[in-house]
Symmetry: none
Subunit: 246 residues, 2 copies
């Protein structure tokens, strides 16, 4: 098992020189072995030959379609794939994950975030490797959140009600719900929730969290004067009170 950054080979596929250089230097500073290219030609062969562990793939490459590239890569290789998508391409990143990418970041992104996601993915890859004897296509399945008959698909941001009705949640509402469900029974402060939603701090008089909570409660059919799922901790924050896993 590869344990040190220097053992790990990362390939950056990105046509914009500025972005590419930034990424290269950032990952080199983190101690990884880094290669770069501005096109996706013969990507499969290059990955095999150079023993690449992880590909950072810009989805909007000139020429070949990034999604096609993803699918082809996944079909013949267990390499880690992180997509780099533009802000608007929601469809792309959703489809991208279905086609086999392992994670994605959205431009403009914080290099630090990308690094953390890369580390995270590499860890998942190698711990899965040791855990199931090298089975490369280990479960990359989308783990749905579920609670009290509801289901939440993290890739499509889709919420399914107990009676089967489906609805796509906006980004903010989704992240908020995800964060709450991830910490059942725990009071989360507005500051923490702001962190989870927008990487931003909470300032007094900021009511955006409350508004989002209200919208979520309505969509969950949770009467605010007698909520069953999202409880208010007066003066502290909010708490998820549903049973997860049901």
């Amino acid at each position: 098992m590869k344990t040190t950054p220097a053992d790990i080979h990362i390939l950056i596929v990105e046509d914009d020189l500025a972005s590419r250089s930034l990424l290269v230097s950032y990952f080199e500073n983190a101690g990884y072995r880094v290669s770069e290219t501005d096109n996706a030609d013969h990507l499969g062969e290059r990955i095999d030959q150079d023993a690449v562990d992880l590909v950072l793939l810009d989805i909007s490459l000139p020429g070949k379609d990034g999604l096609t590239v993803t699918r082809e890569l996944r079909a013949k290789s267990a390499v880690g794939i992180i997509l780099v998508t533009s802000k608007g391409d929601e469809i792309d990143r959703i489809v991208g994950l279905e086609l086999g990418a392992d994670d994605y970041v959205t431009k403009p992104f914080n290099p630090r975030e990308l690094l953390v996601r890369a580390k995270n993915l590499l860890w998942r890859m190698f711990s899965a490797e040791t855990a199931n004897g090298g089975n490369s296509h280990g479960s990359r399945s989308a783990t749905c959140y579920s609670f009290e008959g509801w289901q939440l698909d993290p890739h499509k941001r889709q919420l399914t009600s107990p009676d089967g009705h489906q609805e796509r949640l906006p980004e903010g509402e989704f992240k908020l719900l995800q964060t709450l469900v991830n910490h059942p029974g725990q009071v989360l402060s507005r500051d923490q929730l702001m962190d989870a939603i927008h990487d931003r701090e909470w300032t007094p008089n900021d009511r955006s969290v409350d508004v989002l909570i209200g919208r979520l409660r309505r969509k969950l059919g949770d009467n605010p004067s007698n909520p069953q799922l999202i409880l208010t901790a007066h003066g502290a924050g909010y708490m998820f009170a549903g049973n997860t896993g049901t």
Copy 2:
């Protein structure tokens, strides 16, 4: 189950001497058993050997990356993890939670807040332990408090009367009732009750506890001149006198 602070072992991992000393003395004053270290070397072994229950981990340690440490710890131990992050590390604290930390505080932090979060986490850990045999995730059993035909759902803060009427308790009243029910037959001082409700001390002339008691008694149908459930210990505090488990 560990019930007193002295049974609980907390390890503080922090390289800055001043911060570390502050934390150590603060948690020692709170009655916990405290160890300290300025690095994350062999953290897993130390935690096993010393039976550490809770780790306060500074994420920006020199040398080893705090996130990696978190992940490694979580991979092999059910120890409680609270991250201490710096103001700027938004990504880190978010990802930290994804990697398995239980909570975090942001520098500069109020020691009192950290203590509150630690208490909370410890309570969650040990109540989960007794509720479903150490399985920290998944469906937490709905262990209701029950007494004299009443039921109190700790997750939803909901009180059900003997005739089936349901009512949601405000935060303060709920915590007060919960504390009383958890110590039947025991006189609890106003100071103890204040501590349980708001992590705050009681000052003479503070009548808030009495008011809350009054509101609770009314909701429980407990005649104050002849209370059956919440008795007044004149000059001392209050005592819960109901039969639990009925």
